[in-house]
């Protein structure tokens, strides 16, 4: 474990990613106390879409509210939705992957057919359709993202489970009478965990992108400001055509920064944990 942490510290990509992420999480937690913002409130009519100036470092939005406050409030929602969706996705994917890999034969076959099905369907149309059916509350968005993104993880976890299953200690555990559930939980899971961890990070990047895209296309929760919702309103109220760059540039930059941070961390962890990559 210590060796792993040392390697992480040495890897510049992982370090950059972690620092950027830490910065955003910190601002999300502390920020709203310094820059309070309520998405349900209106601002002053004279202040609509004002460029950055005294009192508003990032200008105002289409309702006359402070963009910086909006941005910080949005970071909370975007990060939270991303985190919960990732959690859901990883739980489903890992459970299915381990059960499929360990059980083999019929169960494996059925589970893999279902996984392939979800891998095949294009994600954005599927998410849009599900969001249309279920409605656009924030919990539904989390559910939609989680339920559509688990297939890749399941595949990877299953492959790893297949290899772990062949190891000697598993055979020994079976021979002393341990049940399948016990083996899957206490023996297989700890051994596939590093891979699951690296996969989680990349899934997080995709989850945040998905939430932003869905919100932009109008399927976000209006009661909760996220960066995607900011971009949605910026587009809808014509910020692009009137050149109100302060409204849509900051949230976009934040999304890119966070996704990039996750991606860098993900690739770095992949390099660290995958011995074949290290030799190159």
């Amino acid at each position: 474990m210590r060796e792993f942490l040392d390697q992480v510290k040495a890897n510049k990509m992982a370090l950059t990613g972690t620092i950027v992420l830490a910065f955003f999480v910190l601002t999300a937690i502390i920020g709203p106390f310094f820059f309070p913002f309520d998405v349900m409130e209106f601002g002053n009519v004279e202040d609509i879409l004002q460029p950055p100036g005294p009192g508003h470092i990032l200008g105002t939005d289409d309702m006359g509210r402070d963009v910086l406050g909006y941005l910080i409030a949005g970071s909370r929602v975007s990060l939270l939705v991303g985190a919960l969706a990732t959690l859901l996705c990883m739980v489903i994917g890992t459970v299915i992957g381990i059960v499929a890999g360990y059980s083999g034969k019929a169960v494996d076959n059925i589970l893999m057919r279902i996984t392939d099905f979800f891998l095949v369907i294009p994600w954005l149309p599927l998410m849009m359709v599900l969001a249309a059916i279920l409605g656009t509350s924030i919990w539904n968005i989390i559910l939609v993202i989680g339920v559509t993104s688990w297939a890749g993880t399941a595949r990877v976890v299953r492959a790893q489970t297949l290899s772990v299953r062949e190891r000697q200690f598993v055979e020994r555990t079976v021979s002393i009478g341990a049940g399948s559930g016990h083996i899957m939980l206490y023996h297989i899971l700890p051994n596939v965990f590093p891979l699951v961890f690296a996969s989680t990070i990349l899934v997080a990047a995709a989850a945040i992108t998905s939430e932003t895209t869905l919100s932009f296309l109008g399927m976000g929760d209006p009661a909760h400001a996220s960066w995607g919702m900011m971009l949605h309103y910026a587009f809808e109220t014509g910020a692009t055509s009137t050149g109100a760059w302060w409204y849509f540039l900051p949230p976009g930059i934040c999304v890119v920064a966070v996704v990039l941070a996750f991606t860098l961390m993900g690739y770095a962890f992949d390099e660290i944990l995958n011995p074949k990559l290290k030799e190159r």
Binding site: V120, I121, V256, L260
Partner: protein, 325 residues
Amino acid sequence: MDKKRIAKKLVYAFITIFFVLLFNFFLFRVLPGDIVSMLSRGGKATPEMLANIRKMYGLDLPWYQQFFVYLKNLSAGDLGVSFMYKKPVLDVIGARILPTVVLLGVAEIFAILIGIVFGIVSAWKRGKALDTGLLSTSLLLYSMPTFWLGMMLILIFCVYLKVLPISGMVTPGRLFVDQWAQLQDILRHMILPMICLTLGMIGEYAITMRSTVIDVLSEDYITTAKAKGFSDGYVLRRHAMPNAMLPMITLIAINLGMIVGGAIQVETVFSWPGLGSLMYNALVNRDYPLLQGVFLLSTVAVVFANFLSDILYEMVDPRVRSMGG
């Protein structure tokens, strides 16, 4: 090629499509707002009228019979009638296929070419400044939401520089001298969405190509070729590239299958009249027959693209054949 294996993959593809149809069918039964509730919203329809409409649309049959009717209609090319356009769904979709295919086709070609070049150069100069630069650019493009890139392009080229039109495929209300002038107008409108789409796809191709080429370059036969005295360029062209192209084939085929889903963001931002913006409009207006039709088309396209990429991959890489696929 082994006919039995192709047949087996074809069967799998059809089974998947069958499940897609089933999924599609049930998905839209669950949706709020079937035709009966839509028509009864005004409160003017009597119970007898509602019962008649039910019967007309076959909604009084048990679900498995409804499914057979659905399949039967499908095979006759009947995808229902769009609520918004009051025309058969198939016609509405048909009119929008070409703009999307053109946009995506051209963008794909550019993205593949540029992505391959970036990837190879990056891998060859691994660790040096050029690699870092190209890799960072690719990662940046990969992390960017495509629609946001579009918004920025609009800001730069339409608002500040004022050189390109903001949206649509043609300038509304304009009359053209001849076909050539009209084509020029369309091309002017196509530049920005195409750049946006291309940039969005380069990231993925460049990063994958770079990984693959790095893998290939570490193989023994490359060292042998270099030891034999072949020039760097020759080794790259004749030894490294052919082998590195294999995973790219799969990636390209899969992206081609995403004809509908892939362009939704770009088409919405630029109001390009293709399948992507059609799906978006159908969604916003809750036009369920249209939504169902576009969704079906996009999933079937992906299934077939995967099937073709599978076959193609086996034809190109003999190792897969002998391992039993």
